[in-house]
Structures are given as structure tokens and as C-alpha cells.
Amino acid sequence: MAWTKKDLLGLEDLSREEIELILTTAESFKEVSTREIKKVPALRGKTVVNLFYEPSTRTRVSFEVAAKRLSADVINIAASESSVRKGETLIDTGRNIEALKADIIVVRHNASGAAEMLARNVGISVVNAGDGWHEHPTQALLDIFTLKEKLGKIEGLKVTIVGDIAHSRVARSNIWGLTKLGAEVLVCAPKMLIPAAIEQMGACVTHNIDDALRDADAINVLRMQFERDEENAFPKQLGYFKNFGITEERLKKAKKNIIVMHPGPINRGIEISSEVADGLNSVILEQVTNGIAVRMSVLFLVAQGRDTKDATGNSPSL
């Protein structure tokens, strides 16, 4: 099957086959990062613009490395920069970037639906690097890629996601992707951090972390953010760690080879203990490595999605 979409906005809209295509293509790209010369000319001459309205180091750098390994030119635009501060709308910024004849915009924004709105209003490709609480498709894809690598398959796996599910785009994208590929997803959080009707997305719910860990093949630990307010933050953090923190003690009651994932950056001692984060079950750093391969795959396919529209009907002459 071929990739036909000009954008990657979320996993909700992708079919099982499309997700598998991204993952299979990512395998080839993983190999590129093991070479001496970590570059292929696939996107040579193409321009990728990272348009980040929310601060981010890891995702932005990951996309930058991925684009550069594909030989693309990369431009980074951060929200603090002048035009955005001057009040230019997202659509206007997008159109200006399009007028520069860039090929792909990788956008991160704090409003849910921002990526879709941008994609509707520009003709070039848009890749969603995280929009509000809505989706963070490349994160989920790299999580799933890592799981597949470690466990061989996704079908039938029991995956638990723990953390602030209600406000997490990583959780939503993971639920869509995992359920489409046949995994069983369990979300675990205190009551007010579970969003309404999440069961309709295909996930089961529990408020007890030990139940959540018991039969799980993998656990994805989400970052917990508390108010900057120093006074109230600490007891809340302690409370959360006590009830939901992933510690070695807790993992003892889980499967021996349970895979522990985290999208990063980790808050040691709040959602996950240092021992677990650095321990043998943790694949956190592998996720980062796989992130490059997955993002290379996404950028490569999305650049194609635009081009297939111009194609002639003839077979290639090679």
C-alpha cells in the first residue's frame, strides 16, 4: 500500500495499514543511524520548518536530526520570536512559510486542533508535533515501534498508560495507535485525571496502580506536572508518588520482563523512581533513538504524499 496523505495530524485518522507502513519504513531508517555516514539523500533540497509555539528541546531536536539525516534543510521557529509575539495568526505564519516554498511544517502548539487548522489552510505538508491535549502522533509511533522491537508484535499485548490521561496528547495518540494494532490498553490515574468517556476510545480504566501493573506487558509512564507554586507542589508530588509512582517495589508485582517506557523528560521521584528509570526494564533511551527513525519515516512518507498527486501514469525507467 502507498502513503497518500500530505499531512500527519494524528493516529485517530490512520488505518492499521498506514500505521504499519510508517513502522516498517522506520526500520529501514533505523539502519541509517548505525552507519558511519548517517545520511541519505531522500529529502535533499527539501526544506523542513520546525514551528514550535510551545518550548520543547527533545521533540524539536529529534525532528531536526531526522530531517538532517534525510539531507533536508531545517529551519527552527520558536514562539518567542518576533512575528509570533507581534500577534501574527497561526494561519498567516503558515502561509508565509508556504510562500518561502518550504516543503514540510512540523508544528507544536498549545491549542488542540491547531495542526489540523494549519493543514487545512496551507498546501504544504504539516506534521503534528503535539497540539494541546489532542495528539502527539510521532511520540506514540515511536512508543509502538519500541514495543514492537522489544516484544515482536503489538497484537494481544497488554499495555498500561499511567499519569494525567485527561490532559495528555501522548496518551490519546497511544490509545488510538495501540488499539488499532490490536493491543489491550488500560489507563490508570486518579479519578479527576481520567477524561470522560475514555472507554469509547477503546481503553479500560483503573484507579489502582497495582491492578494496572499486574498483567501488563508494558507500561508507559507519563510526566506529571504540578503547579509552579512551590508550597503546594511538594506534598502533591509526594502524594502522587506514593499512590501512582512506578518503583522497584511495585514492579516486583508485575511481569518480570515488563517494558517500562516514558516520553520524557522524566521527573525522578514523582512519577517514576530513579532505580526504575535507569533499570533493566526501562527502554527510555531506546525510545529516543527510535524517535529519530520514526520521524525520518514520517517526514519521508509525508513528502511523498504530496508528490504522488503530480505523478504520471508510467512506470519508472530505471
Binding site: S112, H134, R169
Partner: protein, 447 residues
């Protein structure tokens, strides 16, 4: 307008629930009143409109419209808003007070009245605010406003949060015989929500607005109205629980009436799934079950009125990130067609029922319909008299529309007379087009 001008609408299917008329007949208009209703009216010097195969009904009375003037003339003006109304078959609108400045004192009311006098193309009645600046803190002078000329009071856009204050307002309103229209929303519960709470808010990653934020306030307002023995009208009902509370109140004999807008009986929360800001309304589009409840409520008579809640917004306020976009859609030009397409053509209401919801009931609630009474004319013959708006009775105001019930059309931005184009029905095919709108005896709009 020349003295004694005559307009004859021939051969149309007239629908007049006030007089229980549902038949083919002619209507003669002289100056600004209906002077005759009957068959084969023959007249030489009358202008004739051939209404064969068309529905002839009273001009619609839309009791929930935001005309935006004064203050936001970029979104809409009295002139453009009433022009849009006529295009949609609406001859009377009730203008909501959330303008800048709000209609919360006699000076502001006078200002609005003068603009209406100069520029309105249709009949405009005015709603005064309940509290100053609609802040929910200090009362307006209801007596003075009533004297100067308001048809009702409302803080629409907001609800009066303070129970004591609301009760006092209802008591005063009863004293001065003023209708209170309630926008039922507990802002502490809606809390920056953008869409219906549930699967939709979860999927879209947006804050949800629960049914509770509406029906809890409906419950409170009904309770307070009962205590004050005042009349209450509940605006834009959107969910099942609200319908049930209103039904219960009516059975108890409490004087409450209710309205809903076309979006609430034709669109459910699924319509928002692509972050289309033209589907962002307050209250939000609800679940399919709520939509069914609204339709049933219209059928059963629990909901008395269909009003558009016409809320124009400029492109700058709509073509932005969903959570930042303004709530509201325009509706004057589509409400009749949507109602025909979704209610009449789906067997929920017949034509009589439709005219009741969109003309007769609102006119009654606003007190601009005069109930029929008998009188003896100069020859001593007993005659019936009916007047005002929302009816085709002899003697009533000649606000009439001629509608092609089967004409299909597509809703396009370019087709709108309104200054703003934020319609929830863009791109949709609707059935039912207004051919003529007669307002105060004159043909004010022609297709």
C-alpha cells in the same frame, strides 16, 4: 407608501394556527393590515402575488437575535441584521441587550431606539438587561426601562449567578409585568469549556461543557420563578434534562416557556469533530440523545418556540484556534429552511406546528399577538377580531411570507445578507425558500 395601497396574495396555501386555518385562500392587504382572507378575492387596482403551490404564513417572530449594534458594527448592524431577517422570512426580531453599551439604562435604550428608527428594515423589539453591564451585581431600573419601551429583560450571554438577586429581579419583573428571558448557564461548571463534555471533548482534547451546567441553572430559575410567581422564558434549550425539567414545571402549572435554536435539533456533537469553529456554540452541540429529546420536546409542545440565537462574528474571531474562537453562529437566514428540512419533512411538526413555534407562540409570549375577540360592527353583525403579529387574521399587521416548500438550495457564504458568514450549515443542502417577505404591508424582500 401611497394611501390605501393594496396587495393581493392569491391562491396560496395559508397556514394560520391562530385561526386554525390550513387551506388554500387569498389574502388582501390594505396599507399595513390584512383586510380580507377568503376565496377568489377579486380586485382591480391591487398588486398581485401569485402564491400557487406556495405556503403563505405569518412573518416569523425570532425572539433571540444579536444585532450587535451599537458597539460591534463590524459583525452586524441593525440594518444588515434586519435585512438578513427579511431574507429568512423573519419580520420581527427581538434584539438581545449584550451590545456595547448594554441596554441597561434609559439613555442606552433611547440610543438604540433611534438607530432602529433610522435604519431597521424589519420590526425590532428590544430586550433590556437585568443587571447593569450584565455583570450580575446591580439591578437596572426595570420600571423606567419598561416605560421607555422594552419587551423583556435578560442578561443573555450570562446568567445572574446570585440567587437572591435573581429572585428579586423576578419579583420586580412580575410587578412591572415584564418577561424575564433566561440564559441558563452556571459558568463555574462550564469553566472555559469549548465543546460538549463526553467522548467529543475527550477525542478533541478540549475542556467539556456538561449538561449539568445548563440544567442545574434551569432548575434554579424555574424554582425562583415559581416562588416569585413570575413568568419565565428559557432560552436555547439544548439537553434532555432541561426538557424534562421544563415539562415537569409546566405540569405543575408554573408559567414557564422555552425556546430552542435550529442547531440543537439538527446537529449533534459529532459535527465538531473536525474542529470546525462554525460548530462552536454555547450551549454546545450535544449528544444524539439530547438532539432526540429536543425534537421530542418540540413535538410534545414542551418547547414552545424556535428562535435562531443569531450570533454574528467576524472571520478574525472564528478562523482561529478552536478554543480561542468565539461561540455562536448566525441563523436568521437558515432557520426556516432548517426547520422545514429537519422537522416538517421528517414528520416531527406539521406546517401548523411550525408556524406556532416560529410565529404565533413567540408573538404570544412577547405580548404582540392580540387574541381573537368578538365585537359588533356598525351593522350590528358579530365579527371576530384578531390583531398584532404571528397571525394572518383580518386586522392583524401585514407581516406575511410566501414560501416555496420544496425548493432546494445550498447554503453558501456569498449568499448571506448578514455581514458575518459564520453559519453552522455552510455547504449543506436545505429545503424551503422564502419567495416574498411582506413587512408592514410592503414587499420588503423578493427572491
Amino acid at each position: 407608501m401611497t394611501k390605501n395601497s393594496k396587495l393581493l396574495i392569491k391562491n396560496g396555501h395559508i397556514v394560520d394556527p391562530a385561526n386554525n386555518l390550513d387551506m388554500v385562500a387569498d389574502i388582501l392587504i390594505e396599507n399595513s393590515n390584512i383586510s380580507q382572507v377568503g376565496n377568489n378575492i377579486k380586485l382591480n387596482n391591487a398588486k398581485i402575488i401569485d402564491a400557487t403551490d406556495k405556503i403563505v404564513m405569518p412573518g416569523l417572530v425570532d425572539m433571540h437575535v444579536h444585532l450587535r449594534e451599537p458597539g460591534r458594527e463590524d459583525k452586524e448592524t441593525i440594518a444588515s441584521g434586519t435585512e438578513a431577517a427579511l431574507k429568512g422570512g423573519v419580520t420581527t426580531v427581538l434584539a438581545m441587550p449584550n451590545t456595547q453599551p448594554a441596554v441597561d439604562c434609559v439613555e442606552n435604550l433611547r440610543l438604540l431606539k433611534s438607530i432602529i428608527k433610522e435604519t431597521a428594515n424589519a420590526n425590532v423589539f428590544i430586550v433590556g438587561a437585568i443587571t447593569k453591564e450584565r455583570e450580575g451585581k446591580e439591578f437596572v431600573d426595570i420600571a423606567k426601562l419598561k416605560k421607555e419601551g422594552i419587551a423583556a429583560i435578560s442578561d443573555d450571554g450570562s446568567s445572574v449567578d446570585n440567587d437572591k438577586l435573581m429572585l428579586k429581579a423576578l419579583i420586580k419583573a412580575k410587578e412591572y409585568k415584564v418577561l424575564v428571558i433566561c440564559h441558563c448557564e452556571d459558568k463555574l461548571l462550564t469553566k472555559n469549556g469549548a465543546v460538549n463534555l463526553g467522548f467529543t471533548s475527550t477525542r478533541l482534547g478540549l475542556r467539556g461543557i456538561s449538561n449539568e451546567s445548563e440544567y442545574k441553572r434551569v432548575e434554579r430559575d424555574i424554582l425562583l420563578a415559581e416562588r416569585a410567581k413570575a413568568r419565565l422564558h428559557i432560552a436555547h434549550v439544548s439537553c434532555r434534562q432541561s426538557v424534562e425539567l421544563i415539562a415537569k414545571a409546566k405540569r405543575k402549572g408554573i408559567r414557564v416557556t422555552a425556546e430552542t435554536a435550529p442547531q440543537y435539533f439538527s446537529l449533534s456533537e459529532e459535527a465538531v469533530l473536525r474542529y470546525d469553529t462554525n460548530m462552536k456554540v454555547n450551549p454546545p452541540l450535544r449528544s444524539k440523545d439530547d438532539v432526540d429529546a429536543i425534537r421530542q420536546g418540540l413535538k410534545d409542545g414542551v418547547i414552545d418556540v424556535i428562535a435562531s440565537d443569531h450570533a454574528p462574528h467576524t472571520k478574525n474571531e472564528k478562523d482561529i484556534e478552536f478554543e480561542r474562537a468565539e461561540f455562536g453562529v448566525i441563523g436568521l437566514e437558515t432557520e426556516l429552511a432548517v426547520s422545514i428540512t429537519e422537522l416538517v419533512n421528517k414528520g416531527i411538526l406539521d406546517w401548523m406546528g411550525l408556524v406556532k413555534k416560529m410565529a404565533l407562540n413567540p408573538a404570544k409570549i412577547l405580548g404582540i399577538y392580540k387574541p381573537p375577540h368578538q365585537f359588533q360592527d356598525s351593522k350590528g353583525i358579530l365579527r371576530n377580531w384578531c390583531g398584532g403579529k404571528g397571525t394572518l387574521s383580518v386586522g392583524s399587521d401585514a407581516d406575511i411570507i410566501v414560501v416555496s416548500p420544496n425548493k432546494e438550495w445550498r447554503v453558501e457564504k456569498e449568499g448571506f445578507a448578514s455581514k458575518s458568514k459564520n453559519s453552522a450549515f455552510l455547504g449543506r443542502k436545505l429545503v424551503g425558500m422564502v419567495e416574498y417577505t411582506i413587512c408592514n404591508g410592503k414587499v420588503a424582500y423578493k427572491l
